[in-house]
């Protein structure tokens, strides 16, 4: 399977931070099984930073590796930093993705952003 870099395969074989966070501060889900990829990200926030990031992913090797990499990169980031993560940054960290798998990279950062937005919405509601 030479289509994926060693780094992608390593994350695919040993994904970091798989699972759910039952008392998550924010949850974001993107994609759907009909398209072939679906990712859910769960975050805990402490003092404006991501103190825990976990995910569950339905999808191909790239989707799983991207989820793992995003969860690792985001760990400990401020919310603003985490929102700035984009598909290129993730793909670069993975030593590249095949062109037809770049959208997986997009999904990962989008799912994380949605989880952060979910957290912010909850915060806004509770502060009212």
């Amino acid at each position: 399977m030479a289509v994926y870099s060693e780094k992608v395969m390593e994350h695919f074989m040993n994904p970091r931070n798989v699972g759910e966070i039952p008392d998550a501060d924010g949850v974001g889900t993107v994609g759907n099984p009909v398209c072939g990829d679906m990712m859910s990200f769960y975050i805990k926030v402490n003092n404006g930073r991501l103190s825990d990031v976990k995910f569950k992913t339905f999808g191909c090797g790239a989707a799983i590796a991207v989820s793992s990499m995003v969860s690792e990169m985001a760990q400990g980031m401020s919310l603003e930093e985490a929102k700035q993560l984009n598909r290129k940054m993730v793909a670069d960290e993975l030593d590249g993705l095949p062109p037809n798998k770049m959208h997986c990279s997009n999904l990962g950062t989008e799912a994380l952003r949605k989880a952060i937005e979910d957290y912010e919405t909850r915060q806004a509601k509770s502060s009212v």
Binding site: F12, P15, V18, G36, D37, F58, G59, I64
Partner: protein, 392 residues
């Protein structure tokens, strides 16, 4: 690591006797079969022997066999060649919904050229109903194409019945022509052009232990087909270009061996296939067989595994030395769901979990059991990771 090749629909290994037959035409007898001088003699003789061997495999006359570079080329030549050659008599063709892309995309090209194409649906097992084909025929229909056996779900189509239904229905002339894509069937199943009642039939050597780069189109005597490649008089002027002699010799040798050994291969393959289906569907929950339960290719097992995706299973299986295929969106370079799984009504989410095991004559029961050792933990692991799986 133990290597288990379960992807014979992609390509088969070469039989040692096939390689042996080919080598002289790569080493000593490299001449052009069209040459009038002595260097052309041996290649020409060998090529004509191969033509007879291929004809013999499918009950045709040698002069009805036209060599191509692949099954896809044979399909293109049949669909576009027959439709274009007969367009004054009509510009309508009929194909089934589960044809190979080389047939469906040829039909799409014809649509762009002003032809009309009727795509006949299949049932949940992938079977074409001969009555549906007959009903789709019009006055201006010049060609019907239904595959002999499907490469993705293994279903064997009722070609004899389709040909009969068409003959009853067709009041006029010789049209429509009947083409069958027998790439997945020839050399594996009994395939006889007279018994089938077809006018055109495609096959490829790398599906029955011959080399890549050689296929053939059977064109019944009297059937008119426009060449796709114009040029010299190779292949009776129907397919120009210097022939790939070594590969054609290999195709011929493979055809002869397949004719002699096909039944033994099938007797060996069917129990392996049935055991793999039995174990997959009983030992892993939420696994569904695709294709017909009995009318299927002897070495063909295709399933959908719910809650997970095919490529990720394929990658893990590859790590364990097991080579399989998948019809999931992510495994297709075009990122499109398999049209075959869509046509049999498989829900799109479930189709993502497609796995296709195509077993070959050299595989053993130990290979089947090995796959069943390694696959269940992979499925379990991916399901634990899946947001769709709510079980254990």
């Amino acid at each position: 690591m133990r290597e288990t090749y379960f992807d014979h629909a992609a390509t088969t290994p070469l039989l040692p006797k096939v390689v042996e037959a080919m080598l002289p035409y790569l080493k000593e007898h490299w001449g052009n079969p069209l040459s009038l001088h002595r260097f052309g003699d041996r290649p020409r003789e060998a090529m004509e022997k191969a033509r007879a061997q291929v004809a013999d495999l499918i009950g045709a006359q040698p002069r009805e066999i036209y060599f191509t570079a692949s099954g896809s080329e044979a399909n293109n030549m049949a669909i576009k060649g027959a439709a274009l050659m007969n367009q004054k008599k009509g510009k309508h063709i009929v194909v089934s919904a589960i044809e190979h892309h080389s047939v469906l995309n040829s039909a799409k090209t014809l649509e762009k050229l002003g032809f009309e194409v009727t795509v006949v649906p299949v049932d949940e097992h992938g079977l074409v109903n001969p009555d549906d084909i007959a009903a789709a025929i019009r006055e201006d229909t010049t060609l019907v194409s239904v595959m002999h056996a499907n490469n993705e779900i293994g279903t064997i189509e009722p070609i004899v019945e389709i040909a009969q239904a068409l003959k009853e229905r067709s009041t006029t002339r010789h049209l429509p022509y009947i083409h069958t894509d027998a790439v997945a069937a020839a050399g594996i199943l009994p395939v006889d052009v007279k018994e089938l009642g077809v006018d055109l039939l495609s096959l490829a050597g790398n599906q029955f232990y011959g080399p890549q780069g050689a296929g053939a189109l059977f064109i019944r005597k009297g059937v008119r087909v426009m060449p796709l490649i114009d040029g010299g008089i190779q292949e009776g002027g129907r397919r120009a270009g210097t022939e790939n002699v070594a590969a054609i010799v290999g195709l011929g040798a493979a055809a002869e061996l397949a004719k002699a050994e096909r039944e033994d291969w099938a007797r060996h393959l069917i129990p392996l296939r049935d055991r793999l289906i039995e174990r997959l569907t009983t030992e892993i929950d939420h696994v569904y067989l695709t294709g017909h339960p009995t009318l299927r290719l002897p070495g063909h097992v295709s399933i959908c595994v719910e809650f997970i995706e095919g490529e990720s299973m394929l990658l893990f299986l590859n790590m364990q030395g097991v080579a399989v295929s998948s019809g999931s969106t992510c495994t297709s370079r075009a990122l499109k769901a398999s049209h075959v799984l869509t046509a049999i009504g498989m829900p799109a989410a479930l189709a993502q979990g497609s796995l296709v095991f195509t077993i070959g004559k050299d595989n053993t029961m130990e290979d089947v059991d090995y796959v069943m050792d390694v696959l269940p933990p992979i499925v379990q692991r991916l399901r634990q990771m899946s947001p769709l799986y709510k079980g254990g």
